[in-house]
Amino acid sequence: MELVMKDLSRQFQKTTAVDHVSYTMTQGVYGLLGVNGAGKTTLMRMLCTLLKPTSGSVTWDGSDIFRMDGAYRRLLGYLPQDFGFYPDFTVRDYLLYIASIKGLRPMNAARRTKELLGQVGLAGAEHKKMKKLSGGMKRRVGIAQALLNDPKILILDEPTAGLDPGERIRFRNLISELAENRIVLLSTHIVSDVEYIAHEILLMGEGRIRSAGTVGELLHQMPVRVWQITVPPGQAGRYLAEYAVSNVKTDADGVQLRILSQEQPAAKAAAQSATLEDLFLWHFGEKAGERHDLV
């Protein structure tokens, strides 16, 4: 069980959406983190054989996935970011249809459908029309759809977008359970979605994998330290202009800042242990736009 990307690139007219990505995935959960436009979706579409790469290759256990055709797709479960469906189908019909094009036998399809509807918390909604579902419910049907064929390779593009906090947690647990004997690749902007469940995190920016590894490894590699300091409201601006700040909180005592810096920014700044969120900000600080939003 090995999915290998080698020098994978994809060009759209002038933009290089994915730029020479090489990476190997074996069993486990992989979190793909990156800002908007980083190329996450494009990368995933290539892994799903939906887009042909401009150059480079993807192989599954040594065979080219495009050459494998159906044999590869049989192993695949995909939740697209822009998840479309048939609006006038009921949830059940939708899942049974997808099961049929995934090659499940009718008996098996009915059983899996029932099972999955329970797992994603939609047991009561099976006879609802797809177009009448809420955004989060549609997303859950999308997750169920991806899991129908018990895929060896599960690719989820922003699966948690639009889910409420409770559902997010349930989803995280579901993924953790599923990860046992398959590859799960999920993309997100939300660090906490992958922080605890991903075995490896891939930080993607401008089409390239900037950095990858376990959370521990990534944090260890971070060249800056994290400091916390509380300053009077008037002084906050100066720090925001000078340092990368991953968090700003205003309370009665003043403004509490979380600063990423090699050196201690001020005498009273206390060293903190870094989190994945800090790392994300460090890599994509400007792009993420958080600093400006908060001022």
């Binding site: 054989t49 055709d69 797709r73 697209p80 469906f85 249809y97 094009i101 995934k102 090659g103 759809q145």
Partner: protein, 411 residues
């Protein structure tokens, strides 16, 4: 899989409306086809099933072999009615009464109008009224004679339109028609043929609408990513779409046509199915040797081939351009191309018009057209060519659509 594809099509609210429209058109066609009048002794129009039965009885009196003797009787009977006081009178009611008396042999009287016309392309409703019984023996000769005059007249339109071989073909067809013909009440079939085009045309447009979403729908609804990344997404699931399309065309088409036929034949009666088509004035000039029943089969299956071909073309457009709107336009374009080409009025355009797929949808008319083609050493009428041409094209479209969709990259 195929079942869900069909379900997908009919789950759209628009599809239900389309089926409702089709049902309405079938109902209207049934009404129009069966709304025939019987003119009673007082010169009033009667409608309804009882009137149909009276008309049938009147025409049955004249049923039988259409030999010289019968023609003579018809000329005499027609003249008798014309000489009667009602026939001579100028007022409308008398005219209607006189007409009513001719109802039984009106079909034969119309044949006389054509057979004894001054020219092949001339039709004169009053021609039958100037005939004398001694002209009866010219009836079948004149059919052939008029054709020859038309084909070989150097000043006429037909002279340069047909090659010598084509002219000979048409003349031979006329000469080999088995005569004498026979006559019987056949209003059921004739009316059925006349309005069949309404049902078939509408079937085509609505089928275009129904099938246009089968392939484009995945893109329109952004369901393409899941579709194409599934196990059967680039093979069996595409075949299922094609099967669903064919199943919908077949079921909707035959559903509509069978409902229509069954009602009309039940209402008007199916008598006369064994007659040669030329025995009715509407197909007097037809150069295909067919019985009424064979003509029915040709109209129905020709319409089916036409609908199938055009629907497949819709599906191809829908797969290739990922657009439902473009696909819906295909049947409508099929209506416009012939009239556009018709305006050009030159020989080549004329040849092409005769082979456009819309001709298959109105075979009642197509069978009467003098479209002939030279293929190698053979001369054939347009009808067999249309069947072969669109049968072959339809079967070629299937792998083309399949291949096109299979290669799609989801965007």
């Amino acid at each position: 899989m195929t079942w869900y594809e069909i379900k997908k099509v009919f789950s759209r609210p628009g599809s239900k409306a389309a089926v409702a429209v089709l049902a309405a058109v079938v109902a209207v066609s049934c009404y129009l086809a069966t709304h025939i009048a019987y003119v009673n002794e007082q010169g009033d129009n009667e409608y309804g099933r009882a009137a149909v039965m009276r008309l049938r009885a009147a025409q049955k009196e004249w049923a039988g072999v259409l030999d010289t003797e019968k023609i003579r009787q018809v000329i005499e009977a027609n003249n008798r009615v014309n000489q009667s006081p009602e026939g001579q009178a100028e007022d409308v009611r008398s005219g209607n009464i006189a007409y009513g008396r001719k109802q039984g042999f009106l079909g034969i009287r119309s044949l006389l109008n054509y057979a004894y016309a001054e020219g092949f392309r001339i039709s004169d409703w009053y021609r039958a009224d100037v005939l004398t019984p001694d002209m009866a023996d010219q009836f079948y000769e004149r059919r052939i004679g008029l054709l020859k005059d038309w084909l070989y007249d150097e000043t006429g339109e037909a002279y340069y339109r047909y090659s010598p071989r084509e002219k000979q073909f048409l003349v031979t067809r006329y000469e080999t028609l088995q005569t004498p013909l026979a006559y019987d009440y056949a209003e059921g079939w004739v009316q059925l043929f006349r309005y069949a085009v309404m049902v078939i045309m509408l079937c085509m447009i609505l089928l275009g609408y129904l099938v246009s979403g089968i392939f484009a729908g995945e893109f329109v609804q952004k369901a393409d990513a899941v579709f194409f990344s599934s196990y059967y997404g680039r093979n069996k699931a595409i075949a299922a779409k094609l099967k669903a399309g064919a199943a919908i065309v077949t079921a909707v088409y035959f559903g509509a046509v069978c409902c229509y036929s069954a009602f009309v034949l039940w209402y008007l009666g199916a008598d006369g199915y064994w007659l040669p088509v030329q025995a009715h004035w509407s197909a007097w000039k037809c150069f295909y040797h067919l019985t009424v029943w064979q003509k029915y089969l040709i109209i129905v299956f020709g319409g089916y081939v036409g609908c199938l071909f055009i629907s497949l073309l819709c599906m191809w457009v829908s797969a290739a351009f990922k657009s439902r709107a473009a696909a819906v336009m295909v049947p409508i374009a099929m209506e416009f191309v012939p009239s556009f080409l018709g305006n050009l009025s030159n020989a080549a355009a004329d040849k092409i018009i005769g082979l456009l797929p819309d001709r298959l949808l109105d075979l009642d008319v197509t069978l009467n057209l003098f479209h002939v083609y030279t293929v190698g050493h053979y001369v054939v009428g347009s009808v067999p060519l249309l069947f072969v041409l669109y049968g072959v094209l339809a079967s070629l479209l299937v792998p083309v659509i399949y291949g096109r969709y299979r290669r799609t990259q989801a965007q």
